[in-house]
Amino acid sequence: MTAGLLLHNAWANAPPVSIAGVLVWIVMRSRREPLWAEAYRRLGRSKRALGAIFVLSLCGGIVFLDSLSWQGSRVEEPKTVVDRLFDRPFERTYSEPMGSATVGEVTPHRLLGKHVFGTDSVGKDVFYKVLKGFRTAFAIGGLACLVAVPIAVTLGLSAGYFGGVIDDVVQYTYTVFGSIPDILLIVALVLMLGQGLSSICLAMGLTSWVGLCRLVRGETLKHRDREYVRSARALGASHGRILVVHILPNLLPVIIISVTLLFSGLALYETILAYLGVGVGSNFGSWGNMIDSARDELTRDPSVWWNLAFSSGALLVMVLSLNVLADALRDAIDPRLRTE
């Protein structure tokens, strides 16, 4: 492999590696803060939370492996680790779960030589498709949150803190956004921006900030008149400093919990969009696409149910563990349990 190819792969791999690194760094670093250490301790005591974290780290691992790519030679398309390990050649037609691979399997392996989840009506391995769906779900949840959270937090904080005209403007804006049916807005945006992962993330991000914004505004209102904010002011702190240094950290628990829920909600939403035909498009493996294609498969005789079942199952497992985690997080870091 030439140096140029290595570099090419390094560029492609930089984002996933750095994202994973930042996540690990945040967790390790916050462990040293006594406040968060306490929350981690509580989280560690909850079996539900540990289970959810275990499942989610499995999902995260799949996503990570599916994001690292390498290239055999200059002509070959770059493939991810998951592609290398689990991609199976197309079968001629559908086969049931645990069906043996018949095409292209040079050295039949006990598990890898089988289509564990069967193949769909065009002969593609369902297990592989399910695995590919994780990355899309995480990317959509993550990127849309990346769009929605800054909007929600900035607007919510300033509306709650400054009040007056700013508050009015923000409130009117999110009330208007909230009154337009999300689906309509997303479909319009996707049609405008063109189908694809980034445009759908942008569209979902732009429509999903309302709830969080309302929450942040309310919490800011609550904290604005607290004594500690007043004493910070009496000591000469500026507005920006009070907002970022004093109020925001107090809102973090609430924000973290609702972002966890927002994330799973967004992943769920993608399947609905795919079903409506405005999903990420067929270039990406997504559970939404799988469920969408299952529409035809179920009517066949005999019906091909496994495409639908396993994609929904994966979705269920991910969303369920995210929600369980959000619940456990609420118990672990609720400031009301912590103070006094």
Binding site: R230, A234, G236, S238
Partner: protein
């Protein structure tokens, strides 16, 4: 006469309430000299906290406004300043400590962090801020400052928290410290310690203290001068000895008589009958008239002016008559 560091002249502050405009502070004047303590005494709702908030301009938003008057800090009128100019004064020249040490500290940061934050609010490096924070914590009598530095507010007792608050207020060696009921929420023993600490630091730094309290015991302990407030204005003002030993305004007399003392042992405590009039419509005449023992019809005709008598100033038209009747009795 020495130039006062803080000179408040005819301060008028109102609050917009659903029931109308409440004149919470209605013409308050006093001066505060360097190194001295002035106590602002009065019952709940008389406007003493509003005076403090008007001085630092942190009135409740959006309801509170300063209407007129002057707040001169070393000759500069603070009321003319913009928000940002005022902010530069807060914490550096004027610092304030509040009543509730339980909630006046940010629950999610360590004590050291918050004291350092107060130091850094007016410039300075991080390492300097940390060193200074430790110094300050030690100065306010916290044992093991290294340990407390890393603790969160909920891990400390009320007294410790108030000490930390004082450390934050002292961070930039203010010229004036405004203490709004600094010991009300504390135990009596802790209260005495905190007051002693404020005195000590005041002597050391030569700062002026404006002490706001309803506790006459605290006033006797701490103050050089006293302004007694009633219904939005000062009714009597003077040196602490004069006020305590020779009160002239009927309200001050009643207030002092309502304190339990050795003489009143076994008897029922004296009570001031009636209630403070509402701040939305003050009576035209003397505001204490409805509760006053010495009331005559002239009292309710027009508002009494401040009259200088002996070392003090009194807002009562009958001050001489009352003194005479006392003397003859």
């Amino acid at each position: 006469m020495i130039e006062p560091v803080l000179d408040v002249r005819d301060l008028r502050t109102y609050l917009k309430t659903p029931r109308g405009t409440a004149w919470a502070v209605d013409g308050v004047s006093f001066t505060l000299a360097s190194g001295k303590t002035r106590a602002l005494v009065g019952e709940s709702g008389c406007g003493k906290s509003m005076v403090a908030l008007s001085i630092v301009q942190l009135l409740p938003e959006p309801a509170g406004f300063v209407d007129s008057g002057q707040v001169l800090l070393e000759g500069n009128d603070l009321l003319d300043l913009t928000w940002n100019e005022m902010r530069a004064h807060r914490g550096r020249d004027l610092a304030m400590i509040f009543q509730e040490p339980m909630t006046s500290l940010n629950p999610v940061f360590t004590i050291g962090n918050q004291v350092a934050e107060a130091v850094a609010a007016h410039g300075g490096s991080k390492s300097h801020a940390r060193r200074r924070a430790l110094e300050l914590l030690e100065r306010v009598g916290i044992e093991a400052p290294e340990r407390v530095h890393g603790q969160y507010p909920h891990e400390l007792s009320g007294g410790m928290r108030q000490r930390a608050m004082i450390a934050m207020a002292l961070a930039n060696r203010p010229k004036v410290l405004i203490a709004d009921e600094p010991t009300t929420a504390l135990d009596v023993t802790v209260q005495a310690q905190i007051l002693a600490l404020i005195r000590e630091i005041q002597d050391e730094m030569g700062m002026a203290v404006l002490l706001i309290t309803h506790d006459l015991g605290v006033v006797a302990e701490m103050a050089d001068d006293v302004s007694v407030m009633y219904a939005g204005h000062v009714v009597e003002s003077g040196p602490v000895r004069a006020i305590f030993h020779h009160p002239q305004h009927p309200y001050t007399r009643d207030l002092l008589e309502s304190l339990p003392s050795r003489q009143s042992r076994g008897r029922d405590l004296a009570v001031i009958e009636g209630v403070v009039p509402g701040a939305t419509d003050w009576p035209t005449g003397c505001r204490y008239a409805s509760r006053c023992r010495f009331r005559v019809d002239a009292c309710e005709a027009s508002g009494p002016p401040m009259i200088a008598r002996d070392a003090a100033e009194v807002r009562c038209i009958r001050v001489d008559a009352i003194a005479q009747s006392e003397a003859t009795r």
